[in-house]
Assembly symmetry: none
Homo-oligomer: 146 residues x 2
């Protein structure tokens, strides 16, 4: 695994280890919680395909050691990812990238879309916009879509 900027070292590695494909960079100035940075970065690397299905991820303790944080923090990131179905865990063994689940991503996006729609409904009510008005706006914005 590549932590911070210790990338060059990897060039000379001959053996492959668990988590070698994972890159994590913690930005202390970002304001985002550590567990969330880990969560997001792993998630996007899983979605992008940078990590293979069923590939073993670094252990929560190993990753924590490299990042010099408590393993409970890495655990929290992994937990979140597992809850969302992006990885699976075998206690005593390790954590693995879950097979890609298109439906899962769809569900996630649907949830986000619902949230946006909720906001829109609130706004529409306060300025007396009708359902039809909103639908027309959507129609307009998605003209190019089918």
């Amino acid at each position: 695994m590549n932590i911070y900027r210790r990338l060059p070292k990897q060039e000379t590695q001959t053996e492959r280890h668990r988590g070698d494909n994972l890159n994590i960079l913690i930005d202390n100035k970002s304001g985002a919680p550590i567990y969330d940075q880990i969560y997001s970065q792993i998630k996007s690397q899983i979605i992008s395909g940078a990590l293979d299905e069923n590939e073993m991820l670094p252990s929560i303790r190993g990753l924590a050691k490299d990042l010099r944080i408590s393993f409970i923090t890495t655990k929290r990131a992994y937990e979140e990812l597992e809850k969302e179905g992006f990885l699976y865990t075998i206690p005593g063994k390790g954590c693995y990238v879950a097979p890609k689940n298109v439906e899962l991503l769809r569900e996630e996006n649907l949830k986000k879309i619902e949230e946006h729609i909720e906001e829109i409904v609130k706004l529409a009510v306060t300025c007396n916009l009708s359902k039809q008005d909103i639908i027309e706006m959507v129609n307009f914005s998605m003209e190019e879509e089918r």
Copy 2:
């Protein structure tokens, strides 16, 4: 002003006082902060037209006394409403319902709605949702609206 359920009393009132048209009911079990409950209820009564333009609202101290809370809490609600243009304040005198600026409110909300729709479009594209799918979701969420 009508606080809690002391509504019947109003029936016998002959004189009109500032804030007589305002109804506030604080629900301690709701979980919503007090200032927010006040804010929301006044806002909706202004938008609905239950309160007239330039009508004097109860003083932050008077309202606070009736609600048996600190006047700083009522002030916070009023502050928020003023920031959003729903009321205006004359220091030393009182707070008044702002003249309805329907166009401004509408324009602001339209802009926000457009932004939400843009986000929705992005999400819809990445998970192959059709325009019709989105419209159906909007329809569902706005079932009760006209």
